[in-house]
Symmetry: C2
DNA sequence: GCCTAGCACTCTCTCCGCTCGAGTGCTAAG
DNA sequence: CTTAGCACTCGAGCGGAGAGAGTGCTAGGC
């Protein structure tokens, strides 16, 4: 039955399903045959629509909360809607310009990403997500070291894509300001343009070379470099606009509000999920049952990868109740992720040129 | 009446008030005369207690939600309790050690502060606050400049107290790596140990000196220095553990949950409030009506300044419903703020020595 | 053969009135 | 000054009645 669930749905049933999904997304209420009949799109009586609806229910696209209620779409119903029935609404010029401005105005990529989740939340009225995974595969432009205290050094890594990462390192040796400056210069020149992962491997290999055994300064350089690259890069996940769920009727009661807020706290699970999504290229929509996380809380996620063509940097998207305006969310997330990617690519050329 | 509300309260009434506050903090329910009589601390019948309670109500320390309910403390009741009746419970050794460890383990002050709000939230089961105001009066140890893109420079300021601040500057001039290094060195040596505020004034004065007019390098240095000091220092306010309010019975219904979450979003108002508090020295407790913000939402705030003796750095504290265990919160906040201050002072000596 | 009117049925939601319990204030007696 | 007793008030909880929405089924019309 699940092998080809799409083809064997006649045009009328498709229209009915679409209308039910649209109306339910709009109102949040179960949709009954009478309501549907009166909407004007069908020249059918409630009784006929009931037959169609019964069929759709049997196929698993609709469900009834209780006997005498209307129908609401199931996860599968939403999925079919997204795949075959949805007509993405294009963004308003206002939305476009808000995004363009926000992205172009900010000077630093970090800053853009920081604001992106809040921006997305505001535009979508859902919870905005921005995920930046560990950056071991990102190419650096420079690496500098600044003494913070005797045995503590702050390492500032600037990526070719304009991303700036700060890491604090505890060191065994003491370094003078001069030494730190020299080491930074050496590493930036020697390893500029290479990925952190590669740099680490090269540094480790260097420890074995004879030259390094006898050159004290080189030894310190390698040691500091390895410390810098090894210091943990944290996953960063911004979850912004959690308060937007306060307005959603599906979370109207205190118990589900509670559950939902707690769920959004579980960042590790979200990180796992987004990390998997990172492998896929286009816009991704996860509906309810399609992942453990979304299933648990009747969430859906609309997300897309961003970053330069060569290397994806992370994910942006939104998370909200299954009943959301996919037709609006999809182009929104899509547009923002493309804007971010463009910004990052510009940065790369700019930084390298 | 409000001129000397404290003295004219006989010992018995004080005991009754204390007991009511304690029991109400514990249960969250209004306390009736019968309950009070049965608790064992008074050899009085409910009827007698009712008389005392009626007096306390007349004085504004107690209130009744409705005619046939018990009494709950008013803001004034809590205030009297805090000033005169409360016996601060000392921290458990476990709590002490958790705080000590968390503070001593972290290497960077920023990191400690970051975690402090979460730690406080965990230990108190309230919402943790950490506030760091703009740092114009903080003394620097060094200032370094790193090129991020052609006209964008990242400035890393290390304070004598170990605080590290990064600021991104857009510049008019282009700088080579060498120049940036020289400028950083010059500023660090010339201005190390001075406050940012002072540095700014000195830099501005220097622009007028004749020497600066003719020395191109000095001109660039001053320009970059001024940009660095002028770039906005943002107030930082961490609000952590908002989910803890999900468990509080006073926010059991969806409407007040909603209101409360939205209130905690209004960071500007909180910043204003904490900034005022920053002037006062010891532990501060704000109950309900005592500030616009706390009044609005039946919040109370327990907070204390932290920082080295010479200059306060910011505020730490908790925010929660008026009905909170003040006797436990007070020493908790007090201890943490002292631990933070100690850490910061150590850092200062370390950094300077 | 598909569509539709009609009907009986089911289920939820809301309102209403009832009772019960807790707590109060007042009064009068110890 | 304390306490027992009493009448009163108010809110929470329970259950039944009724309205409303929606369904499935069946029989008749095009």
């Amino acid at each position: 039955m699940a092998t080809r669930p799409d083809i064997d749905l006649d045009p009328r049933a498709r229209e009915v399903l679409r209308e039910i999904v649209l109306q339910h997304i709009d109102s949040g209420e179960p949709i009954g045959s009478r309501t549907l009949s009166k909407c004007g799109k069908f020249q059918l009586s409630p009784a006929s629509l009931r037959n169609v609806m019964a069929d759709l229910e049997e196929l698993g696209f609709l469900a009834q909360p209780h006997t005498s209620a209307g129908r609401i779409p199931t996860d599968r119903g939403y999925r079919f809607f997204i795949n075959h029935l949805m007509q993405s609404r294009s963004l308003s010029t206002r939305e476009r310009s808000v995004i363009d401005e926000e992205v172009s105005v900010a000077s630093e990529i970090d800053e853009v990403l920081h604001h992106a989740s809040a921006l997305l939340s505001k535009l979508s009225d859902q919870v905005g997500l921005v995920f930046m995974p560990t950056l071991l595969q990102f190419a650096i432009r420079s690496m500098d070291f600044i003494s913070v205290a005797d045995n503590r050094i702050m390492c500032v890594i600037v990526g070719t894509n304009g991303v700036v990462v700060n890491k604090l390192i505890e060191t065994r040796f003491l370094f003078t300001r001069d030494e730190l400056e020299k080491i930074g210069r050496y590493i930036s020149i020697e390893f500029g343009g290479q990925t952190l992962d590669r740099i680490r491997r090269r540094l480790i290999r260097m420890t074995e070379e004879e030259r390094a055994q006898h050159d004290a300064m080189l030894q310190k350089t390698i040691s500091l470099g390895i410390d810098a690259v090894n210091a943990p890069f944290e996953h960063e996940l911004y979850v912004e606009g959690a308060t937007s769920i306060l307005n959603k009727p599906e979370y109207a009661d205190a118990a589900s509000l509670r559950k939902t807020f707690l769920a959004l706290q579980e960042k590790e699970k979200l990180v796992d999920l987004l990390e998997t999504c990172l492998r896929e290229e286009g816009l991704q929509i996860l509906v309810g049952s399609e992942s453990d996380f979304t299933q648990m809380h009747n969430f859906s996620i609309v997300a897309r990868r961003y970053g330069s063509g060569t290397a994806p940097l992370g994910m942006v998207g939104i998370i909200g109740p299954m009943r959301m305006e996919y037709a609006r969310m999809a182009p929104l997330v899509d547009y923002l992720s493309r804007a971010l990617s463009r910004k990052i690519e510009e940065e790369e050329h700019h930084g390298n040129g």
